[in-house]
Symmetry: C2
Subunit: 438 residues, 2 copies
Amino acid sequence: MRKMRRKGLASMAVQTVATTSESTVDLGPATALSCRECGHRVPLGPVFACEECFGPLEIAYDFSAYDTEELRRRIEAGPANIWRYAPLLPVPADVAGKPNINPGWTKLVKADNLARELGVTGGLYVKDDSGNPTHSFKDRVVAQALEAARAFGFTTLSCSSTGNLAGAVGAAAARAGFRSCVFIPHDLEQGKIVMAAVYGGELVGIEGNYDDVNRFCSELIGDPAGEGWGFVNVNLRPYYAEGSKTLAYEICEQLGWRLPDQIVVPIASGSQLTKIDKGLQELIKLGLVEDRPYKIFGAQAEGCSPVSTAFKAGHDVVRPQKPNTIAKSLAIGNPADGPYVLDIARRTGGAVEDVTDEQVVDAIKLLARTEGIFAETAGGVTVGVTRKLLEAGVLDPAKTTVVLNTGDGLKTLDAVAGTGLTATIRPTLDSFREAGLA
Amino acid sequence: MRKMRRKGLASMAVQTVATTSESTVDLGPATALSCRECGHRVPLGPVFACEECFGPLEIAYDFSAYDTEELRRRIEAGPANIWRYAPLLPVPADVAGKPNINPGWTKLVKADNLARELGVTGGLYVKDDSGNPTHSFKDRVVAQALEAARAFGFTTLSCSSTGNLAGAVGAAAARAGFRSCVFIPHDLEQGKIVMAAVYGGELVGIEGNYDDVNRFCSELIGDPAGEGWGFVNVNLRPYYAEGSKTLAYEICEQLGWRLPDQIVVPIASGSQLTKIDKGLQELIKLGLVEDRPYKIFGAQAEGCSPVSTAFKAGHDVVRPQKPNTIAKSLAIGNPADGPYVLDIARRTGGAVEDVTDEQVVDAIKLLARTEGIFAETAGGVTVGVTRKLLEAGVLDPAKTTVVLNTGDGLKTLDAVAGTGLTATIRPTLDSFREAGLA
């Protein structure tokens, strides 16, 4: 099923590669694109699906020249953003000097209050990606896609989006002097339109739903009108996706070059989780962290839980769902990397779990109340799943655990709209005392 | 007039100091509180007005033991937050290990696109404080107040607020395990209530306007019911205010230990601007930067421009105004530090200027479009004033200029609510071409 779905995209991919297969670009240690399914290799270019088997293309690297200690020193002396890891990413060595929004190096918060509340004794950390320039982890992946777009000579940065991605693309394109053209369903909430439109790029409403928007974007990529356009999560997807590796790098470096025992990661397409695993594996192979077991846990909202449903049923195949959850940034009913997520959760001894919207809201409030971190609904999903898996004895409370918060509560205020005043009083001490506040 | 207004507060301050004047607290290099007007000294304590002359109390330090190069190395080896400057702040040496929200070390963005647009050739930078934990500079000052509250044995953190401060206090108190109780006008917009309430502290609506809220808080400080309460911007104000010095430290360190030639700072109470000047002076005295002239420029919204009005009229006294502007985080009609701002602007050869709400909105869009930074209305004020002062020839385009953005556009979405779709099309290539997007 997975492969059938990709067939249409792959034929487009082949068309596109024909125009660029001769190009040689400087993307640092990246040497080629390699099919995740069959290993077939093609030159670096704006393609995303294997011409042989329609599998997803990934970046292949040559890290063979690196000396571990020299690499560690180079990283530690690097800038306080993702470009400190330039030697491990598909970007040119001088990337830090180019105009980009320079996301990353966000806080890894030691969440002692939350740990106490949840009974975690082995150390609980929140990787808080709301500290990124547009306040979501999407800045990481868009920053990578932007560098690929620059390398391929593209002049327009584009995407389909219903939220975080639109802002990240708009901001990055503005800084880098690219044209941006973002496609969204025309009836999106006004607040989300404003957050995307403020960066001044073209923001095009499509009369239709998100599926219609995506279908249109796929058509545009195959058309001459789309020439010179980098769709960050379509024809630039292999580069884009690598941005999520930096979450793994940062977590380990911030833990003192140590693997966590357990990581809880949200699942939308599943790409982030697979790339975090890839990043951890790279650090092990490079000798930057000690090789010992870690477990990766995936988190979904019950209203869009195709991967956790498959995990619990013991299936290898992910059956698509029609999303219905407040966790809109995770609401991908047919997650492209779902099967790989299942593989990783099972291989590492992790799990995939889901929580109800009510549990999402409770978890947002729990994280805010204990750690002063106001998370997006996606953060409510990971914290909620962490709680659920601890209660079920699936997560080990004695192990070092990292929970991802990938977005900012200011973007999903509606989720906690019920939160309000604890009291209303007259401006007098008597009224204050009567309310029991003294 | 300034002193008369303070009289009531000062008598309360004297009451409070009586209970704490014997206390010895460890606040690092801070040695005493010193009156800005008459120099009278009192021990470190939760007091804010001079018992002799009702002038504002400030922190006095002993920096005499510092060796310049050793201090520089110590700072550079410190954490990526304001605590790298612990040797220069009223906090204990081990502050970085205590639970706090650890703000600061936000990006100093080289704004080359904006520079081109404005004709600046000497280097234009935006100090983007939207990267703080609750996305405004208030995290800096609240983090300081929290450490003072801890030192004085307070258990409740409090403030009056209509926005950014409420969230910063709620988040910091949550992380540090303090009770928080924040007072706001009861009829605040629902979105702002949610942003403050989500941290789970007490959020009390006062039936009245912001002045009523402030009057009530002053009463509460003088009452036994307020014992053990640290009001971050009242009885902890001397400590709180010092947090703004870190903006000056970071700007200079991020410029490579160099003073900027020109800084544009927003004015609400005026405290931030005066503390930035204090921070720059300290760096000069400590030998951390070369002593050369710098100019400080203040920025206000026309609808609340008491300081710029006084500056332009050549007055020393600031006449209060009734605020009417979209820049609500700057809407203090009777700014306590207004006269000091006038002194600093005049002494350094700077200026104070104001812009209309329309210019604020234009400037928000300009910054977003050129640099991918979505600023709060306060950021629109500083960018708008920068443009206006450049056009007037008051700011020198050939000099290194730093503009402060102190907050996040997500908190003042209404200001740019008019921003919207650039086109609406059907999901077809024909419709795309008809709209002229190809």
